[in-house]
Amino acid sequence: MAQKIVSKYKEGKSPFVLSMIRLGRNKLAMAALFIVVFYIMLAAIGQFNIFHIKDIASNNDFDLRYMKPFQNIHHIFGTDNFGRDVFARAIMGTKISLFLGFLSGLLMIPIAIFFGSLSGYYSGWFDDIAMYIMSVIVAIPGMLIILSLIQVVGRSFFTIAFAFAITGWVGLARVIRGSFMQAKEFEYVLAAKNLGAGDARIIFKHILPNIFHFIIVRFVLNFVGVIKSEVFLAYIGLSIIGVPTWGTMLDDSKLELMSGNWQNLIAATIFMFLFLVSLNIFGDALRDALDPKLKNVV
């Protein structure tokens, strides 16, 4: 007779689902998630030109130059030098920032998984080479690589995302490598091996899903890094051309501040700040939820 175990959860909830339930109970994280989703919607609005946002953002109206923020409902954040709506531009900037974070993460993760998992799983010459590449990349200031690459290749959206990915993957790869080195000695991995499972099955079915939370959390936190770095690029003059980004808005505002035109600064800062705070909070909550080991750490 097998005793039915007492559990609050209905049958067959995977640990991932449980994590999500845990996450769902974290009100602050949910609020943050809500904001993040809201931003994703803003990005979509920018991308698909909903509400003609693209046109509003680039529509010059010279009679409305430098309207102050919070005074006109049609231009909540006021207008810029061209009389363009700063609010719309900040929304367009959302799109760039989100895409940049997304693309660089997307580029970074496969590289990191490839090097991290293979070098962790097969220690040997591959590990040696991967470790070498990683140490070289960390031994140079990342910003120097990013700036040089963008300067030399040009400031396209893709180049910038690529530059971030090139310097960003190492951290993740190291984590993945470390986890693989541990995981390959886990009993459930040995058990799979014992059943005659091949390496591919072990890597993709047994180990990767169990370290997936690192990857997700990294992906989220990478966003934060990329968005902040984009501001720096804009400041140096290496950000994307032709479209408004939060960084270029901030950089523009550098010139306008003394004339009392704070609208670019305010809009970009508020947009960025809210997103980064939410992302940071959500990233933390996600990590806590996905990694039950951290549950004890208040």
Partner: protein, 370 residues
């Protein structure tokens, strides 16, 4: 009575790598030359202190680790084994007598061919993965041995998937539920995740997984030591039942001597990577020969306040398997240590029929043949 498994002079040394270029700076001699025969349908117990290499031995026997040296014959005919062993002996003899190398070379080549045919460790990887179906392992840690992200049905069915042992989804499910029922887990729980089960249930899942491939040998690595006292017996009982139902052979690893005594027909005592004594359980508990076995048995507490045993309290701790002491590995803790023990490693003696011991105290006895 034939042996299902025979292993000869099995060694597993883990390299200790250090430094930048990961040079090997030493070896952990986790298993340092054990010879073991497991008769078909019987249970051989393997006991020893923590860190003496029991798990490593078990994992090497199931070919999860590639051994440093040694052969393993699985379900191989006596003649074949003897042929190979004889050849090996011959080469050894020739070497010692310093015969020309060409002949040795030819013989060695022959040996390699023989090995490829019989020795589990010499099989190509693909072949080995197929043969794994015959020998399965149940792991020590019921919590760590189940992948937390896979529902138990799939955990149990993984072997079936790998070896494509079903023709339809329905058949797969039936097989899995059948295994669950046999091991005492409610088949309705097929979609649950490991964390929703208690330790005893998890151990059953581990057993079901091992059974899914219809193995002949099960290596049980401390299957009950992580479980509650009242659950231990349930599992032991289940294992017993399964043994007779499926005609299984067990290698039962444990550190708890009373459990081993209860469960196995033959017991091998390990110390620091070597089997120091081996006999049927009756002989071993009545006539313990090795000083270590004596100490070990005397240290086991008895759950009866009215009985008191004469304790042999050992001084000191188990030495490190990285740099084991010279001579007999046990000599620093041995109360009957002699001069020779410090110098030379004792051979395996067989003072009584079927009772072997590796100790200089039995110097006069006949040497065990291997």
């Amino acid at each position: 009575m034939s042996n299902l498994v025979e292993i000869y002079d099995l060694k597993k040394h883990f390299p200790i790598k250090a430094g930048l270029f990961k040079k090997t700076v030493g070896h952990i001699k986790a298993v340092d030359g054990i010879t073991l025969k497991i008769p078909k349908g019987e249970t051989v117990g393997l006991v020893g202190e923590s860190g003496c290499g029991k798990t490593t031995a078990g994992r090497t026997i199931t070919a999860l680790y590639k051994p440093t040296a040694g052969e393993m014959f699985f379900d191989t005919s006596r003649e074949d084994i003897d042929e190979l062993l004889a050849l090996k002996k011959k080469i050894k003899g020739l070497r010692e007598s310093g015969t020309d190398s060409a002949q040795i070379h030819d013989l060695e080549h022959e040996l390699v061919l023989l090995r490829k045919r019989m020795d589990m460790y010499s099989l190509p990887k693909r072949e080995l993965n197929k043969r794994r179906r015959d020998f399965q392992m149940v792991f020590q840690d019921p919590y760590g041995s189940l992948n937390p992200r896979i529902p138990v049905g799939d955990i149990i069915g993984e072997g079936l998937d790998i070896h494509r042992m079903y023709s339809s989804k329905k058949e797969r499910k039936e097989k899995i539920q059948d295994l669950m029922a046999k091991t005492g887990i409610d088949p309705a729980y097929i979609n649950r995740y490991p964390h929703e089960f208690s330790g005893g249930q998890r151990q059953r899942i581990g057993i079901a997984r091992a059974l899914s491939l219809n193995p002949k040998l099960l290596v049980l690595d401390e299957p009950v030591s992580a479980l509650d006292v009242s659950i231990q017996v349930q599992i032991l009982d289940l294992l017993e039942k399964l043994q007779s139902d499926f005609d299984l052979t067990y290698l039962f690893i444990a550190h708890d001597l009373s459990v081993v005594e209860y469960f196995s027909q033959e017991v091998a005592v390990m110390y620091l990577g070597k089997i120091v004594e081996k006999a049927s359980r009756e002989k071993l508990y009545k006539d313990k020969l090795h000083p270590y076995t004596k100490a070990l048995i005397s240290a086991v507490p008895i759950p009866d306040p009215n009985k008191k045993r004469q304790r042999i309290i050992l001084e000191g701790d188990v030495p490190s398997p990285v740099s084991p002491p010279k001579g007999c590995y046990f000599h620093p803790r041995c109360s009957e240590c002699m001069e020779i023990c410090k110098q030379e490693e004792p051979p395996v003696f067989e003072p009584k029929e079927g009772h072997t011991v590796q100790c200089w105290l039995y110097k006069g006895s006949k040497l065990a043949d291997e």
